[in-house]
Amino acid sequence: DTAVSQTPKYLVTQMGNDKSIKCEQNLGHDTMYWYKQDSKKFLKIMFSYNNKELIINETVPNRFSPKSPDKAHLNLHINSLELGDSAVYFCASSQDLPSGTLQADTQYFGPGTRLTVL
């Protein structure tokens, strides 16, 4: 059973197009994330949603719009794609820790979507 799945795995498109990447988790987690991994393997968080509410938005161009129809899904829509958007995009999810818990959660990552903009 795939815990965090993403579709598509590969996406090749032309500059200026609009595309979406989908993410689903079957772990019952409350929080989902989108990360971007650039060509140098550097990973940076883009967005996070908790129970369908946006909680992290890290200085990402507004061409990127995340949408969470329910807490098991977090999709990423990208308008007017640019060459610099080429990267691997990872979705992740984690279970909220009880309030007052001093603990580190575990984020579970999907397999990634390799986006190539030509």
Partner: protein, 116 residues
């Protein structure tokens, strides 16, 4: 600002040799600390994490890491490397929270190659 430094971009070891991957962080307080592994073409998998208590943390696949507050380090170790350990290793930090979620900040990664 919070940051994570992995000084070694690329490390090559022989199968059966010991391994140590370095990680240093910059943060006002002691953050939560993580090591993730990314196999080629795969997502990231958590190896181990530290948030309090014993400074030597055991993880999966025979890995361990030691938190050293005085050196702001969280180095990953394995006594005997297997060819299947060849992958990209990421150190990450997150500000300590009491409940909720952790916002991860990743280092640049260390690529491990294993010679037979």
């Amino acid at each position: 600002a919070q940051s994570v430094t992995q000084p070694d971009i690329h490390i090559t070891v022989s199968e059966g040799a010991s391994l140590e991957l370095r990680c240093n962080y910059s943060y006002g307080a002691t953050p939560y600390l993580f090591w993730y592994v990314q196999s080629p073409g795969q997502g990231l998998q958590l190896l181990l994490k530290y948030f309090s208590g014993d400074t030597l943390v055991q993880g999966i696949k025979g890995f361990e890491a030691e938190f050293k507050r005085s050196q702001s380090s969280f180095n990953l170790r394995k006594p005997s490397v297997h060819w299947s350990d060849a992958a990209e290793y990421f150190c990450a930090v997150a500000p300590p929270v009491t409940g909720g979620y952790n916002k991860l900040i990743f280092g640049a990664g260390t690529r491990l190659a294993v010679h037979p």
